[in-house]
């Protein structure tokens, strides 16, 4: 059996939507943590068997963690995310990423564009004993990720 073609995130494209249009923020973002989605599970045991009766329920919401390089000035995507996070009751921030790039025939995974809110925002900070690049992080929570192809 032949080895599959492996690939890195070298060409990944990341977009966010805070209004009505997707914006390519690949020049600012550094990490999209691999999101995990689970199904609810249940089990019961009976005296007559050594193993459980198992069942599954509906899929649970997904959390997508994104990290970016912070830059001073309100043009940085951090401030777009910050505005939605601090809006009364929170506002929508959708995330879409394409592991091979935003180009024809490539796959993309996206949060909902109607129900995707920032539930956590890590502000930029600093360490006087470090030369690390100042970063920020945000987490969005959405009912599910969907898959689409670029065409």
């Amino acid at each position: 059996m032949a080895l599959p073609d492996g690939m890195s995130a070298c060409l990944m494209c990341v977009e966010i939507m805070t209004g009505t249009a997707w914006v390519d923020v690949s020049d600012n973002m550094t990490v999209v943590e691999p999101p995990e989605q689970t199904r609810m599970t249940g089990e019961a045991y009976v005296f007559g068997e050594d193993t459980a009766v198992t069942v599954v329920g509906k899929r649970e919401p997904v959390e997508v963690t994104v990290r970016g390089v912070w830059a001073n000035g309100t043009a940085d995507p951090f401030y777009s995310v910050y505005a939605e996070f601090t809006a009364p009751c929170g506002d929508m921030v959708a995330v879409r990423y394409s592991p091979l790039g935003c180009a024809t025939s490539n796959d993309a995974f996206a949060t909902s564009t109607t129900k995707s809110e920032v539930i956590s925002l890590t502000f930029p900070g600093g360490d006087s004993g470090s030369a690390d690049v100042i970063m920020y992080q945000f987490v969005v929570r959405t009912p599910t990720l969907t898959h689409a192809a670029w065409a």
Binding site: C10, L11, C13, E15, A21, W22, D24, S26, R96, G101, C102, A103, T104, S105, A108, A110, T113, T146, H147, A148, A149, W150, A151
Partner: protein, 88 residues
């Protein structure tokens, strides 16, 4: 996946009556796609104009079950060009 149908090879014989390969490339979406012209996602059932793609590219997607030929008013803006891909 909603709307998933068996892929088929696009030929004039597969086109709807009166629609030949040199007519406006109008297609119905069968599987979710994102157009490189407007970055919008189009759900199955949407009608789109794929004139920004080459005939070979359109055939690639039809063969894989993403589109089928259709008629009607496209939902996408046909004046937009495909956005250049960074790092491609």
């Amino acid at each position: 996946m909603p709307g998933k149908v068996k892929p088929k090879t696009e030929t004039d014989a597969d086109a709807k009556p009166g629609l030949k390969s040199n007519q406006q490339p109008i297609y119905r979406v069968l599987s979710p796609v994102i157009l490189t012209t407007d970055r919008r996602e189009y759900a199955p059932g949407s009608v789109v104009d794929l004139s920004h793609l080459t005939p070979e590219a359109r055939k690639y997607f039809v063969d894989r079950g993403y589109f089928e030929t259709a008629s009607g008013e496209p939902e996408n803006d046909i004046t937009l060009e495909a956005i250049p891909c960074k790092n491609c």
